[in-house]
Subunit: 309 residues, 2 copies
C-alpha cells in the first residue's frame, strides 16, 4: 500500500468480545481494509478497533463498521463511566503514509455525510475536521454524554450537529468524526516514588509549558511498582521524536537527582521513529531507509510487480 | 517471502557496465529472485550482484548467472590486481531469514555440483561450505589466482577441486562457492589524524584480540578528511550489534582522549539491527517487532492472504 489512512473507531461496548469480533469483520469485509488490532476495556465498557486502508476504500470500511455498531449496540441501555455519545462514539482518521491532513479531512467529511444519509445518525466534526472552532477539542463536543445531548440537541442551538437533523439516533446516538495526527504514546519511568518529581519533569519537557514542540506530558505514580512515570504523547515524531523526548526527560530527571529506569511504548510506533532514534544515538551520518535490507527487498518486489526489469 | 537466502556473486568484470546489467537480468529471469543492487569497481575490474531468493529458486538463479558470466567474461583476457580465479569468482550464500546455515550449505553444495555438471566449471567450497579445513578461508583457496591455479590444478594434489575434474574451464576458470554469515559493515570516524589511535582502538574492540565476539576491526586513515576510522565487520549482529560496537569504540577512544565524530553503514543493514540499537539507547523495556506499525500492516496482509478472518 503506497497510501495509507489509519482509522481508529471507539465503540460503546467493552463487555461482549464477540461484538468486537463482528465489528472487526465488518471492517475487513471491505477490499484493502486491514484490522491491525482490537482493544476491549470492560472497566470503561468501551472498545477500539484499529484498522488501515487506502484512501479509496477507508470511508466505505468506516461506514460498514459504524452501521454494524448501530445494529449491535444499544446506547440507551449502555452504562460506563467514560463520556460517550454514540454506539460508534468517535471515528478518527489518521494520515499515515502518502496522504495529507487536508485529504483526510475530505475523507472524514465524506464519511460524516454518509453516516447521516445512509444510517440516520447525526454527526459532529472534531479536531482537524472541525467546522467550528469550539468543536476542535473532542472533550468539549462530548461533554455531558449521550444523556445530555439527547435533551439539548433539539433545543440548544450550539449543540446542533454538523451534519443531519437535530435529533439523536434512538439507539446509536451521534457520531463524532475527526482527523488527528499519528501519535506515539511513550512513557519513561523514573527511579523515585516522588510524584512531584515526575510532575515537574513533565512540565519542563512539554510544549504547553515551553518545552519540546508536539510533546504532551503528564506525571503519574505507578503505585504497584513503587516508581513514577512521565507519560507522553508525541503528535509529530518528524519534529519531536522518541530520542528527543527520552533525552529531555533524562536531563530534567538528572537535575532532580533521579535516574531513568526504562521506557515503554504504548501501542504502535512507525518504523521511521525507531530508525531515527537509532541513527541519532549511533551518530549515523548516512542513514537512509534505502540501507535497510528489508526495505530493499520490498522495493525490489514492487519494481518487479511494476514490470520494470 | 518467509524464507530468504541472499546470494552475492563476485564477477571478474568491472569495466563494462552493460555486462553487469545482463548478469542482473539473468538472476531475475528466475521466479522469486530479486536483485537488491549491483556494484561495479573499475579499479579492481570486478563487480558484485546482490540478490535474494527463496531457497526453492536461489540455486537456479545462481546457476543462470554463473552460466551467463561464463558466456560474457573471458578470464584469460582479464587483468586486475584483485586476486581471482573465475569469471564468477566467488559465490557466497547467506542465510537471511527462516533458514539455517546448514540448509544454506546444502544449497551451496547443490549449486557446486550443478556448476560442474551443467557448465563444466570446477568448484571449490569455502567457509561454512568447506569440505576441507584448509579451504575455510577464501584467501587461501584463491592464492595465486587463475594463472597459478591453471598450472597447479592438474599436478598439485591439494589444489584439486572439490567438484569436477582437475582442470580449469578455459575462459571461466573455477568457481568458489560458500556460505557466510550476514555481515554488517560499519565504520566509526574519530576526531584525530593519528592512525595509531585508530589501530589501538580497533585492536581493543575486536574478537581476535580479546574484544567483542563476532567483531572484526581495522584502523584506517581517511586522508582527504583528515581523520581516522575504525572499520568493522559484524558477523553476528544478534550477538554483537551496532550499539555494542559503537559504544566499545567510543569508550576506547575516550581512553585515548579522542572523540567519536560519526559512524556510517557500508552496504545494507537488517532492520532488526537498527531496532535493537534504538531499543537499547531508549532503554525500551517492551520493544517487539510487533509494536511497529509497518510490521503490523504486513502481518495483516499475510493473514488476509492466508484466508484467515
Amino acid at each position: 500500500m503506497d497510501r495509507i489512512v489509519e482509522c481508529v473507531p471507539n465503540f460503546s461496548e467493552g463487555r461482549r468480545p464477540e461484538v468486537v469480533g463482528w465489528l472487526a469483520e465488518a471492517v475487513e469485509s471491505v477490499e484493502g481494509a486491514l484490522v491491525l488490532g482490537t482493544h476491549i476495556d470492560p472497566d470503561h465498557n468501551r472498545s477500539v478497533v484499529t484498522f488501515v486502508a487506502p484512501p479509496e476504500t477507508v470511508v466505505e470500511a468506516a461506514l460498514r463498521v459504524v452501521a454494524r455498531a448501530a445494529e449491535l449496540i444499544d446506547l440507551s441501555a449502555h452504562a460506563g463511566q467514560h463520556p460517550r455519545m454514540g454506539a460508534c462514539d468517535v471515528l478518527p482518521f489518521v494520515p499515515v503514509r502518502g496522504i495529507t491532513v487536508e485529504e483526510c479531512v475530505a475523507l472524514a467529511h465524506e464519511a460524516g455525510r454518509r453516516i447521516w444519509d445512509e444510517l440516520g445518525i447525526p454527526v459532529y466534526f472534531y479536531e482537524s475536521a472541525a467546522l467550528r472552532a469550539e468543536r476542535r477539542n473532542l472533550a468539549d463536543v462530548r461533554r455531558g454524554g449521550f444523556e445530555l445531548l439527547r435533551e439539548q440537541i433539539g433545543t440548544v442551538p450550539e449543540r446542533a450537529p454538523d451534519v443531519g437533523e437535530a435529533r439523536v439516533h434512538p439507539t446509536a446516538g451521534a457520531c463524532i468524526v475527526g482527523v488527528r495526527p499519528l501519535l506515539i504514546a511513550y512513557n519513561v519511568t523514573l527511579n523515585t516514588r516522588d510524584l512531584a518529581v515526575a510532575k515537574r519533569v513533565a512540565r519542563r519537557v512539554r510544549e504547553r509549558d515551553g518545552g519540546l514542540l508536539h510533546l504532551k506530558a503528564l506525571g503519574f505514580e505507578l503505585e504497584s511498582r513503587g516508581v513514577v512515570q512521565v507519560s507522553m504523547n508525541l503528535t509529530s515524531y518528524e519534529r519531536t521524536n522518541l530520542h528527543q523526548a527520552f533525552e529531555a526527560v533524562r536531563r530534567e530527571a538528572e537535575r532532580e537527582g533521579v535516574e531513568v529506569l526504562a521506557s515503554e511504548l504504548v501501542g504502535l510506533v512507525p518504523q521511521a521513529a525507531l530508525d531515527r532514534a537509532a541513527a541519532h544515538f549511533l551518530q549515523l551520518e548516512n542513514y537512509s531507509p534505502d540501507l535497510v535490507l528489508e526495505n530493499r527487498i520490498a522495493a525490489a518486489i514492487e519494481r518487479r510487480k511494476g514490470g520494470r526489469p
